[in-house]
């Protein structure tokens, strides 16, 4: 028999991967979340989570930290990306590279370095939330700059000229042309910063002097003792993420999102 490779054949490994590494684990989490220690069906974890104020406040804290981190990243990244994308400088990719290069250095090493600096200037243990947000902004900034830069680069230069030609001031042109056209990049960057800032407890542990607990840390700790509660927290986080992605329009399959993602 002749072995025939069609496109469908090529799909098989990916399908297998998706089943075993995405669908099955999700189901496992779902099952654990709604069972008790004897594997009997139960809403116990759900009730326990929402009746415990410390757990609820952790979720709120995580969201607030993630929101602030995302906002600060956006405020820093947009001007940088905009200036780089519009400049006629020949070496602008070098400057862009400089912003991205820290990503290539080991993450733990970077966080440790910041910790040492904070320790040295005496901030460690003094301003735990500030330190946490600072570290997250430092770590996630490239994920905001890159998608913004890509979308801004793709805006046809003649559109800026058209806006000016039609009487628009520089501010007007920015608000009515540049900003709306760069929104897909903003959304993409927001998603890529917001989600890890909710869960990346390495930063909050090391820079927050173990005084800042975010959802990620929570899940990690529960999986040491109570897998069922851990699964429930993971599930709740999944839902929060789902809602935030939906709110930022991340599910749009329209062409205006195309290319905004890295």
């Amino acid at each position: 028999m002749k072995l025939r490779f069609s496109r469908k054949t090529l799909c098989i490994p990916y399908a297998v991967f998706l089943v075993f590494f995405v669908i099955v684990p999700m189901l496992v989490i779902l099952v654990y979340a709604f069972t008790d220690r004897n594997m009997g069906f139960s809403f116990g974890n759900f009730v326990k989570f929402f009746s415990d104020p410390t757990k609820l406040s952790t979720i709120v804290y995580s969201i607030v930290i993630a929101l602030i981190t995302t906002a600060v990243c956006l405020l820093i990244a947009y001007p940088v990306a905009y200036i780089l994308a519009r400049s006629k400088m020949k070496q602008k990719h070098v400057v862009l590279m400089l912003f991205v290069v820290p990503m290539w250095i080991n993450f733990v090493l970077r966080v440790n370095a910041i910790r040492e600096i904070f320790n040295w200037i005496g901030l460690l243990g003094e301003a735990n939330y500030f330190n946490t947000v600072f570290g997250m902004v430092y770590d996630f900034l490239p994920f905001m700059i890159l998608p913004l830069y890509t979308t801004l680069m793709k805006i046809d230069g003649s559109l800026y000229e058209a806006a000016a030609d039609l009487g628009g001031s520089a501010f007007n042109g920015f608000m009515r042309v540049t900003l709306p056209l760069s929104l897909p990049g903003v959304m993409s960057g927001v998603t890529m910063v917001f989600l890890p800032s909710m869960t990346n407890y390495v930063v909050s542990d090391m820079l927050g002097n173990s005084m800042v607990t975010i959802v990620g840390k929570f899940i990690y700790e529960y999986f040491g003792s109570d897998w069922h509660m851990g699964s429930m927290v993971a599930l709740i986080l999944l839902i929060v993420v789902f809602i935030s992605t939906w709110l930022t329009g991340g599910f749009q399959s329209e062409e205006n999102v195309r290319g905004a993602n890295l």
Binding site: S158, E161, A163, A164, L166, G167, G168, S169, N172, L181
Partner: protein, 503 residues
Amino acid sequence: MAEHIIELQDVVKYYGDNLVIDHVSFYVNKGEFITFLGPSGCGKTTTLRMIAGFDLPTSGKILLNGKDISLLPPNKRPVNTVFQRYALFPHLNVFENVAFGLKCKRVLNTYRNEKGEEYTKKEKLSKKEIEEKVKKALALVDLDGFEKRSVSTLSGGQQQRVAIARAVVNEPEILLLDEPLGALDLKMRKEMQIELKEMHRRLGITFIYVTHDQEEALTMSDTIVVMSDGVVQQIGTPTGIYNEPSNTFVADFIGESNIFNGTVVGKRKVKFCGKTFDCVDDFGEGEPVDVVVRPEDVQMTTPDKGALKGEVISVVFKGIHYEITVQVGKYEVVVQSTESRETGAVIGLNIAPDGIHLMKPKYTTNVFDGVINKANKVEFAGGEFDCDVTQLYPGSHIDEEEYLVLPSGEKLDLTGTEVKVEVGLYDISISDDEDAGGTTGHIISIIYKGDHYRVIVRTGDSDEDEDFVFATEDLWNENDYVSIVIPKEKIKLTLKNTEEKKR
């Protein structure tokens, strides 16, 4: 006298080291349809962009209604542009695209307060006013009812119309159009040409149009500005430019032309293709001239009745006429006629005096500034050439140590001597072997002159370029990279300053 709505005064524009507009001056009359015509890279779009305000002139002035606007930003100028690739806003629908300019606009409204005093307020246009104006603009371009459509769903022609509506809705004093029909197919282009002309008549504003399509320019314009190489070659009406091209570039670029080298042999008599013809242009006797004859001005007749006699070498049917190439001696003459002839037939050709246009040749010789170097070679135009330096001093010779020895026995070291270098039009040849000649460059112009091509090669970098003009019988292509070969004995040197550098 018509008002000058736009006037360019000695405008120069550099992009980096690149000279793109070379001292251009002209004016545009209020209400006329003026076209900048030229090949790509001639500076026509840059000129338009400077009028729009996207580019600022390096030096010189642009006046609008007599006021200097050279440095005014685009949003402060009462002009609007239709862009080459439309530049419609992809995130806005047709209505919002057209309304963009209106929403930026502020108008002075006069009110009366309770005491009866008048006061003015700068206000946005009302929603209703904007809607009315957009509707009118869309009706003008036949896009009624398209308000809600997304611009990405429109065809090229429709996008074009939206772009025009978006510009004219602001009631600009001047509408700038940058090759607006370039992306449309031929039939659509023809229709839009007529519509644009009609729109110009109805709106009564000044249109400045940029194109490389000579037919489009001839069809639509009141005035044509022919540009090439950053310089205005000719300004005139379509008929004026077609019938009386001021130089061979214009003649070659606009319409088909036979261009020959000729000599004036008497009062209103010119000799070319080996025969003497009567003509209407007055030039001094013995003067070399360029002769331009339009193919439709050549009449075919029987061999015995023609001033020229030749053999038909090709016949091409062009729809409304035949293009017939006739070999007359060593010259090729192109004829356009509604009648056909058999290939190989021997026919006679006549040219009426008013069909013969004489113009002063732009190039008669090549002159460069050069310097003699150590090896007794001459350096100019970014290269070095073998030459005979003894021609600088009659009777001198070169000794074995490479010094120039004067008849008096005095020895001269010529290193660093500045000289004027002259090379005739027929003394240069080119080679595609880069090392064959003294310097290299790109071919920037080729014009066929009946029996040879006149070729211009530009050497050196943009800022200090030098052009070589010469005749060749070989066909090259524009932009070919070639080296310049000049035989040693054809380089004519003269001393520039009498101060000799002595040993």
